[in-house]
């Protein structure tokens, strides 16, 4: 595929890795956070960490929307799905994410709840039109990348006067999560940020200026191996030069301003900012999107008079530390034993953007004992 294959060139990747090794200064570490869970998986899938010198350490960030959603929010979705009037529509990523007591939407579906997997909010609108006697609730989750799809659905629902459609809104903002990570330097001392690609296509690169002003080198990156290696080298060059600025390594897809139409759709339908509880961070002020008063009838929390109830994380699960970059997946005693993608305890093991899932799928061979260790 054009714009993808050429960014996977193995020869160029190895030459970039050599350039990275040559650029690293002795007696200096480079701790870089890949903020986005999609980047975490790209690094792991292509084995890029093994191409990087030891001085360069990658820290997984909070950019996995499923992972930072606390169990209480998943419980609320499952409770709504159990309401026999309701058809709950969800992206596939949420279906197997455990709430409290390892309950999931897919398990609720197995015992009769009407839960439907959709690929787009437009599919959920179609289900609402086809089932006028039922309440159709779309489980809206994700950062600024997925929020515009929800925003467009809200606009269409209002203009088409759909009376049986609403959104259970869990949309989150990226900058507050980065701020929260940087406010905990004892957990995660960072020298640079690999900023998200798809999110930045919507919000633009200018929003990261505040982090550069605060001393972080920032490079916005695409998702292919050469994109990621390029971003690592650009960060190392900034750090070596003692500068911190925002660079755009993904200019073929995004610019400083972001997507005007997508931002306008969010501004019309979800302009407000509310405090939201995040797994790993607790309550962060003005970190969640709030559905506008004009669209209140499409807000499932108001329509069904839902009150959010906070519940504790699963016992022994360290997802809360993993999403902050404070601990690595394999530090969890449940990793790969009690908790696997087939039977996950925490969301980081099941989400396609989760750090534990990436380590399980692509990184286990590095954790396994070597032949020498076995014979010794």
């Amino acid at each position: 595929m054009r714009f993808i294959e050429e960014y996977r060139d193995s020869g160029l990747a190895h030459d970039l890795a050599a350039a990275i090794a040559a650029a690293c200064q002795p007696q200096r570490d480079y701790v870089l956070m890949e903020v986005c869970g999609g980047h975490t998986h790209s690094f792991a899938r292509h084995g890029l960490e093994e191409l990087l010198p030891e001085r360069v350490r990658l820290v997984h960030g909070p950019g996995c929307p499923v992972c930072v959603l606390p169990a209480g929010r998943i419980d609320a979705a499952i409770a709504l799905a159990r309401n026999s009037d309701v058809i709950l529509c969800s992206y596939g990523d949420m279906m197997r994410v455990p709430g409290s007591k390892r309950a999931t939407l897919i398990a609720a579906k197995a015992v009769g709840a009407d839960v439907r997997m959709v690929l787009s909010t437009l599919d959920a609108l179609g289900i609402a039109r086809a089932n006028p006697e039922r309440e159709v609730v779309f489980l809206g989750i994700g950062f600024e990348t997925t929020a515009p799809g929800t925003a467009v659905a809200l606009q269409i629902a209002r203009s088409d006067r759909l009376t049986n459609f609403s959104v259970l809104n869990n949309h989150l903002l990226t900058p507050p999560a980065i701020r929260a990570v940087l406010a905990m330097p004892a957990d995660t001392p960072l020298h640079g940020l690999i900023a998200p690609g798809h999110v930045s296509a919507v919000i633009g690169t200018r929003v990261y200026d505040e982090f550069a002003v605060g001393g972080q080198a920032v490079v916005v990156a695409g998702f292919e191996p050469l994109d990621l290696l390029q971003s690592v080298l650009m960060l190392i060059r900034q750090i070596n030069a003692g500068v911190a600025r925002v660079e755009n390594g993904y200019s073929r897809a995004l610019n400083a301003d972001g997507n005007r139409l997508a931002l306008a759709a969010i501004a019309e339908t979800m302009p407000g900012r509310r405090a939201f509880e995040w797994r790993g961070f607790g309550l962060l002020p003005e970190s969640g999107m709030q559905i506008a008063e004009d669209f209140a009838e499409f807000d499932a929390e108001r329509r069904f008079a839902l009150n959010y109830v906070s519940v504790p994380d699963p016992k022994s699960c360290i997802c809360a530390d993993v999403v902050r970059g404070a601990r690595v997946p394999e530090a969890c005693k449940l990793f790969g034993t009690v908790c696997t993608p087939d039977d996950p305890v925490g969301p980081c093991m099941v989400s396609s953007e989760g750090a534990c899932a990436a380590q399980w799928r692509y990184g286990r061979h590095r954790l396994a004992p070597s032949g020498e260790q076995i014979s010794a």
Partner: protein, 64 residues
């Protein structure tokens, strides 16, 4: 981008597989363009000139 459809929709090819996408969030996309697709919505148009600039920088970094 394979074909424009009514209602601001389009048929797109994702690695050869046909799929429907909404164009509600992008401006000025025409057949033959490449778009960044996310949950059924095109969220940006791929800029060929910028793609060439990036590949040139990568090649320079790689010492080519």
């Amino acid at each position: 981008m394979v074909e424009l459809l009514p209602g601001n929709m389009a048929r797109v090819s994702v690695g050869g597989a046909g799929q429907l996408a909404s164009l509600a969030l992008v401006e000025g996309v025409v057949v033959g363009d490449y778009v960044l697709l996310h949950v059924g919505f095109a969220i940006s148009r791929i800029d060929e000139a910028e793609a060439r600039t990036t590949m040139a920088r990568i090649a320079e970094f790689a010492g080519r």
